[in-house]
C-alpha cells in the first residue's frame, strides 16, 4: 500500500512536470456505470479510502492518470438503468468508447451483432496473464473459444448477517454464525431465531432483481436447469422451482422472512438490528461496513457469507463485471496501446476492487493475505468453486430477470397465486425471448 502511495505521488510530480511540456495526451474514453463521486473521490489517490464501486473505480482512474501523464482516461459515466441502451445507441451512432464496462451476461447480445472485438491477442499484448483469471468468469466471457472481455470480479448473491443477533438466538458466536445446510434446517433455525429474538430471520427487498437472484440461487443449488430444452424457453414450473418458491413464500407467511419496501429501508433496518440476515449482493458489503461504523456500531458483528446451501449442493448465483473493447473504439495504435495499458493496470490492481465487496477474479489473489485479511467476509474462499452463472447464451438476461422477479414478488405478497405468477413470468420471458432474433 505504502509503495503504491509513493508511486502515485511520484506520478503526480511527473504529471506536474510534463504538463508544462505540452505533450499530446492520448485520450481513453472509458464508458461505465458505478455512478459519479467526484465530490468525494475526484482527486483521491489513496486506494484504501473508498469502500464502494464508485469510489474505487474513480480512485483507480485517478491513480492511472497520475502515473501515466501521456494518457488521459476520461470516464464517461452513465446511469446504471439505461446503460446498455445508451451504449448500444453510441455504437449505432459510431461514437464508440475505447473501453466499456459490461456485465458478463450482456456479452452475447453484443457479440451476436458483431459489436465486440475478441480480446485474446490484445490481452497477450498487454501482458495480462489469462491463466490467472478464475475459470468461472473466464468461461463466462468466452464465446466460441474466444475471450471477448477481461473479467473484473465475481459478483454474487449472498447473506448479510448480524452475527450478534444470531448468537443471541443460539445460532453460533459473534462473528461466527451458524448457517443452515438444508431447507429443513433453514426453517428450524429461522423459527429458533424468531422465537429467541422476536425478529424475522431473513429480510428480502422489494426489488425484482433480488427476488429473481434468490430463486436463481436456489435453482442452481438444486441443479434443475432454468432453460432445460432451449435457451429461449424458461421453465419455472418444474418441481424444484415450485418447491423453491413455496419455501420462500412459506417463510414470508410465517413471518420468518420479511419484505422491505426499498434498499434504503432495508439498509437502515438491517443495520439497526431488525433481522438476523439480509439477502443482498457483494456490491453492498463496503457500504454496509461503512454504515455500521457510522451508525455507532449498532450492527455489531456484521459479516457477509455466501448464500448457504439450503436447497442442494453449494452454489451461488454469480455475474461478473468485465471490460470490453467495442468494435470501432480505440481506433488508432496509440489509443489501442493506451487502452490496453489501462486494462493491464486494472488487472494489476484487481485487489482494490475487492474493497467494494466483490471478489477479485485473479486466482492468485484469492489466497493472498491482502484479500483474506479483508474484514467481515466469511468463507469467501469457497466462492470460486461454487459460483455459477445463468447460461451465457441466454439473451437479454438483464431484461428477463425483473420479469421473473416482479412476478415472484407478486406471489410473495399474495397478489397472485403461485401458479398464476409462474405462468405470468414464463409467458413474459418466453414471449419476449421468442420475439428476439
Amino acid at each position: 500500500m505504502k509503495r503504491l502511495k509513493a508511486l502515485s505521488m511520484l506520478g503526480i510530480v511527473a504529471a506536474l512536470l510534463t504538463t508544462t511540456g505540452a505533450q499530446a495526451q492520448t485520450e481513453v474514453r472509458f464508458a461505465r456505470f458505478f455512478g459519479a463521486c467526484e465530490a468525494d473521490f475526484g482527486t483521491n489517490l489513496d486506494p484504501s479510502l473508498p469502500s464502494n464501486e464508485c469510489g474505487v473505480i474513480t480512485t483507480l482512474t485517478n491513480i492511472f492518470n497520475a502515473e501515466n501523464p501521456d494518457i488521459k482516461v476520461v470516464p464517461e459515466i452513465v446511469e446504471w438503468g439505461p446503460y446498455y441502451e445508451q451504449l448500444a445507441g453510441r455504437i449505432a451512432t459510431g461514437d464508440v468508447p475505447d473501453i466499456s464496462v459490461m456485465h458478463g451476461d450482456m456479452l452475447i447480445n453484443f457479440v451476436n451483432r458483431g459489436l465486440i472485438e475478441p480480446l485474446d491477442a490484445a490481452l497477450g499484448e498487454a501482458g495480462i496473464d489469462v491463466d490467472d483469471i478464475a475459470e468461472g468468469p473466464r468461461e463466462n466471457v468466452t464465446i466460441d473459444g474466444q475471450i471477448y472481455a477481461l473479467p473484473q470480479d465475481f459478483v454474487t448473491w449472498l447473506w448479510h448477517t448480524n452475527s450478534g443477533l444470531m448468537a443471541e438466538a443460539g445460532l453460533g458466536e459473534v462473528n461466527a454464525p451458524v448457517y443452515p445446510t438444508s431447507a429443513d434446517e433453514l426453517l428450524a433455525q429461522a423459527r429458533q431465531f424468531k422465537e429467541a429474538t422476536g425478529k424475522p430471520y431473513l429480510a428480502l427487498t422489494l426489488d425484482p432483481t433480488s427476488a429473481a437472484r434468490t430463486l436463481y440461487t436456489l435453482m442452481l443449488q438444486n441443479g434443475t436447469p432454468l432453460f432445460p430444452d432451449s435457451i429461449k424457453v424458461i421453465d419455472l414450473h418444474s418441481e424444484a422451482a415450485k418447491s423453491a418458491i413455496t419455501l420462500l413464500k412459506s417463510m414470508i407467511d410465517e413471518g420468518l422472512m420479511v419484505i422491505k419496501p426499498d434498499w434504503a429501508t432495508a439498509f437502515t433496518d438491517f443495520s439497526g438490528g431488525a433481522s438476523g440476515n439480509m439477502l443482498g449482493g457483494t456490491w453492498q458489503i463496503g457500504d454496509l461496513v461503512r454504515l455500521s461504523e457510522q451508525t455507532g456500531g449498532q450492527l455489531d458483528g456484521y459479516v457477509a457469507h455466501p448464500f448457504p446451501a439450503v436447497f442442494g449442493e453449494p452454489a451461488v448465483w454469480t455475474a461478473s463485471h468485465s471490460w470490453v473493447m467495442l468494435k470501432g473504439g480505440a481506433a488508432t495504435p496509440e489509443k489501442r496501446a493506451a487502452s490496453l495499458k489501462f486494462l493491464k493496470f486494472l488487472f494489476d490492481n484487481n485487489i482494490h476492487w475487492a474493497r467494494t465487496g466483490h471478489l477479485p477474479m485473479r486466482t492468485s489473489l484469492m489466497t493472498s493475505p491482502e484479500f483474506t485479511s479483508m474484514p467481515y467476509r466469511l468463507d469467501f474462499a469457497s466462492v470460486p468453486s461454487i459460483a455459477q452463472h445463468i447460461p451465457k447464451d441466454v439473451l437479454q438476461q438483464r431484461i428477463i430477470m425483473p420479469f421473473i422477479g416482479e412476478e415472484l414478488l407478486a406471489i410473495f405478497q399474495g397478489q397472485k397465486s403461485m401458479d398464476d405468477g409462474i405462468a405470468a413470468a414464463e409467458e413474459r420471458v418466453n414471449t419476449y425471448l421468442a420475439r428476439l432474433r
Binding site: 446511469e79 446504471w80 451512432t93 434504503a264 437502515t268
Partner: protein
C-alpha cells in the same frame, strides 16, 4: 374583478373555498420546504434519524459538494442552448408560415393549411423510434442539432400564428403594399411587431416544453457532456435508494430548480399573460 379583496363578511361557501385553497397551498409548499430542509442536512444524520430534517443543525456541505462536480453546470448550459435555440427557430418558422398562410393567397392554400394541421394529431412520443433511426442515419446523435431540430415545425405554432396574423386587419398593410414594399418587408416592419403577444405565448410554451423535455434527450443524448439538465439529473437519481446521498440529491434538485423558479418569479406577469393568451383566443 368579480370580488373585492375583502375576506370579512364573505359568505360561508366562499370562506370554505378560501380555507380549502389555503390548505392546498400549504400542501403545495410542504414538499418544497422539506426538500430544502433535507438539502441542508448531513447525509449520515438522515440515515440514522429521518426525522432530523425538522431540527438543527443544518449545513451547506451538500451545496459545497455540488460545486465540486462540474457536470451540473454543463447540463445547465446544454439545456439553455437547446431550449433557446429551439424556441427561436420555432418562432421564426411559425411566424413566417403563419404569415404566409394568413396573407398569401396561393392556389391550394386551404388544402396545404389543413395538411399542415394534420400533424396536430401526431404525438411526439409516437415517432421517437423512427426519429431515432433517422438521426442515426445522419450520425447526428449527441449533437445540439439532434436536440434542437425535432419539433421545430410545430403545427400548434402554425395554427396559433396563422390565426393571429389573420386577425390583424389587412388594411394596415395596404398602404405599404401600394408603396411597392416587398412582402417580407411588410411582414418584418408591420405585421411582426403586431404579433408580439402571440409570439410570447408560443415562445414561452415552447421554451418550457423544451426545457422540461425528457424522452427525446434521454434517447438522443447518450454522452454525459451532451446531457440536458433533465437527463443529467435523472442519471444521478438512480441511487436515491442508497440512503447516504439523500441530502446531496435534494441539494441538486434545489440547485437545478432555482434558476427557473427565480426566472419565473421575475417574469411571471408575462408568463401568465402569455399562457392565458392561448386560452382566450
Amino acid at each position: 374583478m368579480a370580488t373585492a379583496g375583502k375576506t370579512v363578511g364573505m359568505p360561508l361557501g366562499e370562506r370554505l373555498a378560501l380555507i380549502a385553497v389555503i390548505l392546498l397551498a400549504i400542501l403545495w409548499l410542504l414538499p418544497l420546504v422539506w426538500v430544502t430542509g433535507v438539502s441542508l442536512k448531513n447525509n449520515t444524520e438522515l440515515v440514522v434519524n429521518p426525522g432530523a430534517v425538522f431540527s438543527a443543525p443544518y449545513t451547506i456541505q451538500n451545496y459545497i459538494d455540488l460545486t465540486k462536480t462540474s457536470a451540473l453546470g454543463t447540463w445547465f448550459r446544454n439545456s439553455l442552448i437547446v431550449s433557446l435555440s429551439h424556441t427561436v427557430l420555432v418562432l421564426i418558422v411559425s411566424c413566417l408560415a403563419g404569415y404566409g398562410f394568413a396573407r398569401i393567397e396561393f392556389p391550394g392554400r386551404n388544402a396545404v393549411f389543413i395538411f399542415s394541421l394534420v400533424g396536430l394529431a401526431i404525438p411526439g412520443q409516437a415517432i421517437i423510434v423512427p426519429l431515432h433511426s433517422f438521426f442515426n442515419a445522419f450520425d447526428l446523435h449527441n449533437t445540439y442539432a439532434a436536440l434542437i431540430i425535432p419539433g421545430i415545425a410545430t403545427p400548434f405554432g402554425i395554427f396559433l400564428m396563422t390565426a393571429y396574423f389573420r386577425a390583424i386587419p389587412a388594411e394596415i398593410e395596404e398602404a405599404a403594399r401600394l408603396d411597392n414594399a416587398s412582402r417580407f418587408k411588410i411582414f418584418w416592419a408591420i405585421a411582426l411587431p403586431l404579433a408580439v403577444p402571440a409570439m410570447a405565448t408560443l415562445g414561452i410554451f415552447t421554451f418550457l416544453g423544451t426545457w422540461n423535455d425528457y424522452l427525446w434527450p434521454l434517447i438522443s443524448a447518450t454522452r454525459p457532456e451532451m446531457y440536458t439538465l433533465t437527463v443529467g439529473l435523472a442519471a444521478t437519481q438512480t441511487n436515491i435508494d442508497q440512503s447516504e446521498g439523500l441530502g446531496y440529491l435534494m441539494a441538486q434538485s434545489v440547485f437545478a430548480g432555482l434558476p427557473m423558479l427565480i426566472l419565473y418569479i421575475f417574469f411571471q406577469k408575462y408568463v401568465v399573460r402569455a399562457v392565458a393568451g392561448a386560452a382566450i383566443r
